[in-house]
Symmetry: C2
Subunit: 757 residues, 2 copies
């Protein structure tokens, strides 16, 4: 009875919070957007860039842990990533409340009802009737378990659990068990760790330490190791087998609360994280603090308050997704200690450099500078900038070495507090020193050939997109070198920035368009029929066209000419050379036809980052109106404020930040100091910038029909170009767009920069 | 008074042990041999291949921790390596008894007297009069502190201490602090860890966990963090600062005992190591167990009991040094978990492959097979075989990738229980995939050029010895490939095994000898004057001759053409091609002159592994008598049963095992299935082999004058060659040498194999 009353109180209180928070941007965040289908976003509570990410784990095969109903829930793990594909990572330190005796470790249960909002997750377990509520601080999860009141209250703590387990030892992309340990330290304290290796990035072993504190003492306990239960035994040391604890909770109350501190250093550090972050036992205080942390960031970009709730939901959830990762682990680096920030879970820069990092820069340049400094510090201590990094280990690369793009973007946007000299050194390491050994861990795979031939020859995995990406990364190096007056470096890399041309097959026609990035062998011969693999008996071949997506059956799917894409996609993906591509395609009209073919014939892949820039390429032929049309179509058909509302893996907010930018009418060309202007989806956006200067972007007359920009004024002066520099935004001021129902000649003459660094 | 009586008892008991142990080989071990001067051996107690190696640490700059008197002792660390050069490694978890109040962390003291024998170390501290005695199990150190009885008994436990600390952050070869933690768990238990990175191999962070148990409770405690003391505070969590505990011991006794369990997994595992290895409190039992562990191994090679005590000392100390490392860390691998053995502290194979590994093979082929399996398992999980490895991290390489030599040696000696297919795969990774990034971490630096040109061109560091070593490693690959019927691999690497010729400058004369390994540039041009570094302003040059040892002032000392040596040395260091070198030197007579010049003019460096084989090269010109003379001279002038009795860094037993082999009259050519025969220094050696078959080597008539072999009989049959196969030894039996005072024609005709695999 008491239990029910408490639950009612809790619900009432939650409602109060909701009403109060109605005014806050955070109320528009719907963590379920992108949770189903390909989105794979993390749905649990988290701080901005927060270390702890508790979530239900439904079996061990989901990337974010969570599955839609009716899948049973195995328990609640404390660490997750958001929006990823491939083999899962994390899922460590599983907890699961249950009722009844401590006689089995499997306590999976079906779910009754889930409630998810910013910073809050709740579910009722069918088997036991227990309601589990979760909120969190930065490094500490906070659980409130509402037991139904009839049976003994029990709790499982399972540091042996992790996501992505496979029966085959050392399977690629599978997380693999190394060790775990658990100890009941006092009647209210449990500690231990989970040590796991592998996962998508094939990383080294990482260790997640925890310290759990209950607000009521346990009255009984059974530990386990491997398959064996040990009633009355308080601890199980690490002998390479899975360990855990089943606990009976004494006393009579129905509600049990638990804090779980996490650390990558030690159990005592995990405990100190609790002491530091959540010294009390009030669930609502923790939740409110979390909401305020987010609100501070959301309020930096204020969209028109009259926008439809669905738009607000899409937009602020987009910002939310963008700031779930990378994870701020400053003070939690087990590899080295200094005064630099430490971030992990770059998953991956290949995905995030285009829109996530630039969006963070707009929201908080200080935060992005911290992230860049963390990247440079990783280079200094681990030898290379990461492209992907998770579990304190670089890995893996998909195409370029996009640390270059991230550093160059910071440089051209003049982020302060970064040693760009060290940044350039880090970029040059990528460009000059072959990573060797594991060519997909970091740096540039195929670099030796690339530097010798000016392209990555066929047979080296991902030769096509590596060449295209490296050329852009070389452009990034040239940008920074020029800015730092390193003339020789600048000249070399400016030249190398044109390396994409070495794989551009000028005369190749496909679907009415001319010129494509095509495979070439080491001897310089274009390949129409490509040999694959090294089979000396069968000499298998494979026809390659600009639409080929598959790799031969005998080759791994990430070993083809392009990663997750076709030549139609990647041949547009050269963000520093659009004018040249237009020319090589046969001029403006031919390029327009090429783009139209791309979108109308379904060659465009909305779910893949290499095509992120493509819908705005019409800008370079003086047709921002066509970019606008294209973007609106894509958003209308592919983005929804619903669980299946993201068209592809969110990839650490990449997809979400693409949407957020286009909703504002801005689109960055990362590594270059400007944004393309499109007609926004909301009538007004105000950037409350960290430098104290507001910048307003207003679309007067915007409506369902009035989607074209007729004219624009920047701070009162006529502004006739469809792009604006970052410097202009930094200065503060306002850009007023006049909207109309038909295309105009606005933005048709002063084309976006040719990227002539 | 009681205290003194106890001490007397202890001394009496030790004496009893000594008397009893007089019969044992272990009594001839003198851990002080090689402790002073360049030897740098570890002097504390240790199990064979044991994980824990407690030793006094005298400041933080000594490689083995220990310094001769009168240097003060800072405390006693639990982990050390033996015989190493360069930046130190380990020295973790320092303990130090003292008397008086807990008001300062520095408790360094001068020493009164040290007693060192197999498994036992004792010292009296001048400052306090405390006697510290140490013995050890495999993963647990055992301390007995005899306090003088007047002042309060105090004890410092300092997990922040480590060897090789430098004021410069991230200094090369310096160990660097990452974190530490300490907690007084109960009045008799302390636990925590030390997390350190770097050191000579520039390795990633490693963590040493400890669990200390006292036999009497503490009555007071002061912890510290950084420079601040915290009286009455039991624990200090890891916040990236150094932590420790000062303890007051309650009660009245003078003797305090302490066990410190060590683990690379966790503090609970460290505790379980204590429970498993030393469940009781008897110092003598621990010591006796240790002695028996060693005795079992020493007794496998029984030298003539009438040998002089000095000879026994040199010989069994040689065996002892050989089995201090690598370290058996099976069950203590924090990186992956499986059923394979795990060994660390390969320091380095470049040093040990010639004699240490072969000596372990003779003593215990099962042990060597374990070591080889550990190497292969490291390749499987870390990507490359190590050449050097310490603190769970590969690094660094000096010349070749000598995992090849170690695996090939196991293969030709038919060690059982090894997957040689996997071994070949590991070797091929070295030979085919450039390590990239950090070219001195693992694999073969300069491999791309080596595989393109057939040699490592000048300007790549250590081009000379890398080329020579890689050619031998290629020979090793060919050996295994042939044995496994991999014909194509065999042919390729048999060809590559001749790559040393690409740097052999045929016409080059120096000191009357012809033909030397000399620097060549990428274009194939021999270099007399070599450019060094990339300075574009000064174009500095440097004259290179076969005696050049220095690198220019502007280049690091490990970046020259040869590592720790000259062309005179390395031009002999091609162990699979001696007949060809003889021919290229101008034939047998010219080669004899060349060798004589080498030794008489002081070009030979007794302290360096690349010259290990050189004194026996006379065998290949049919003059084993000259080899014998040379070896005896070297031993007489460079090896002594004294603290300064080793002529160079012992390098994990490399120097000691060279001596042990020559004392027996055998010398291996590692990677090849035979031993060269020389006249032994002892009259008889019996190998009690693991396969149950004894092999006896007897030198009848051996005396100070009779140092030449006149004739030999193997199992009763005339044996007229100065080399014997490993297979012959494995079979059991006896080889009887007839000694004489003058050289004979024995061994002059059937020369050692030409290594024609």
């Amino acid at each position: 009875m008491l239990g029910n009353r408490i639950l009612q109180l809790v619900i009432a209180f939650s409602f109060t919070i909701s009403v109060y928070a109605q005014e806050k941007h955070g109320t528009f965040v719907d963590p379920m957007i992108g949770s189903e289908g390909l989105g794979r976003v993390f749905i649990g509570p988290a701080y901005p860039f927060g270390m702890v990410k508790p979530s239900p784990d439904c079996g061990s095969s989901q990337n974010s842990g969570w599955s839609p109903l009716p899948a049973p829930v195995t328990g609640f793990g404390q660490l997750h990533v958001s929006g990823t594909g491939g083999g899962p990572k994390y899922g460590n330190i599983l907890v699961m409340p249950f009722t009844g005796p401590l006689n089995q470790t499997d306590q999976a249960s079906l779910r009754e009802e889930e409630k998810v909002k910013l910073g809050y997750y709740s579910v009722t377990l069918k088997k036991s009737g227990i309601q589990t509520e979760i909120t969190t601080a930065d490094k500490v999860s906070f659980y409130r378990f509402g037991y139904p009141g009839e049976k003994e209250r029990s709790l499982k703590i399972d540091p042996g659990f992790f996501l992505g387990e496979q029966p085959v030892p050392d399977a690629r992309e599978a997380q693999q068990f190394v060790g775990s340990e658990i100890e009941l330290v006092s009647p209210t304290e449990i500690k231990g760790y989970s040590r796991i290796r592998g996962g998508w990035n094939n990383g080294r072993a990482y260790t997640v330490y925890f310290y759990a504190v209950l607000d009521q003492p346990v009255s009984g306990y059974t530990s386990w190791k491997g398959k064996k239960l040990y009633p009355g035994v308080k601890s199980q040391f690490d002998s390479g087998e899975k360990t855990g604890l089943l606990l009976s909770i004494g006393g009579k109350g129905q509600v049990l609360q638990m804090k779980i501190g996490i650390s990558f250093l030690s159990t005592l550090k995990a405990k100190s994280n609790i002491d530091h972050e959540i010294p009390q036992w009030n669930f609502e205080t923790v939740l409110t603090t979390l909401e305020n942390k987010w609100e501070e960031l959301f309020s930096r970009i204020e969209i028109d308050s009259s926008s439809a709730p669905e738009q607000k939901k899409l937009f602020y959830t987009g910002l939310y997704h963008t700031m779930l990762m990378p994870v701020n682990r400053t003070g939690e680096n087990p590899l080295w200690t200094n005064d630099q920030p430490y971030y992990d879970d770059f998953y991956t820069l290949w995905d995030t450099f285009r829109t996530s990092n630039p969006l963070i820069t707009l929201i908080s340049p200080k935060r992005e500078a911290e992230i860049v400094n963390a990247l440079i510090d990783i280079y200094k201590h681990d030898g290379y900038l990461p492209d992907g990094r998770s579990g304190n280990a670089n890995g893996r690369t998909q195409g370029g070495s996009h640390g270059e793009a991230v550093i160059a973007d910071a440089f051209v946007k003049k982020l302060e507090g970064i040693d760009y000299g060290a940044g350039l050194e880090a970029m040059l390491k990528d460009a000059l020193v072959a990573p060797g050994g594991n060519e997909e861990q970091e740096g540039r795979g195929g670099l030796t050939a690339y530097n010798q031939l000016g392209y990555v020859p066929y047979a080296i995995p991902r030769a096509g997109n590596r060449t295209v990406d490296y050329a852009y990364n070389d452009f990034n190096i040239a940008t920074v070198a020029k800015g730092l007056n390193k003339q020789k470096v600048y000249e070399r890399f400016k030249k190398q920035a044109a390396n994409w041309k070495n794989l551009w097959r000028d005369d190749y026609m496909d679907n009415g368009s001319k010129g494509f990035i095509m495979p070439k062998d080491t001897a310089g011969k274009w390949l129409d029929t490509i040999p694959y693999g090294n089979s000396e008996l069968q000499h298998p071949t494979f026809i390659y066209t600009p639409l080929t997506r598959e790799t031969p059956w005998y080759a791994c799917h990430w070993c083809g000419f392009f990663y997750e894409g076709t030549s139609w996609e990647y041949s547009f993906g050269i963000p520093h050379a659009i004018p040249e591509i237009i020319e090589k395609s046969g001029g403006k009209e031919a390029f327009r036809k090429r783009l139209d073919t791309f979108f109308s014939k379904g060659f465009y892949n909305v779910a893949n980052e290499p095509s992120f820039l493509s819908p705005t390429l019409y800008h370079w032929i003086g047709r921002p109106d066509l970019s606008t049309e294209r973007i609106r179509k894509i958003i209308a058909s592919s983005f929804l404020p619903l669980p299946n509302g993201l068209p592809g893996n969110d990839d650490s907010g990449a997809m979400s930040s693409w949407l957020a930018f286009h909703m504002m009418g801005l689109y960055p060309n990362a590594g270059q100091p400007y944004y393309l202007l499109n007609s926004p989806l909301v009538k007004q956006v105000i950037f409350h910038q960290e430098n104290g200067k507001d910048f307003k972007l207003r679309a007067d007359g915007l409506s369902a029909e009035n989607i074209y920009i007729k004219s624009a004024k920047l701070n009162g002066k006529v502004f006739n170009q469809a792009w604006i520099t970052h410097a202009d935004i930094l200065k503060g001021g306002e850009l007023i767009l006049e909207m109309d129902a038909k295309p105009s000649d606005w933005g048709t003459t002063v084309l976006p920069p040719a990227a002539n660094n």
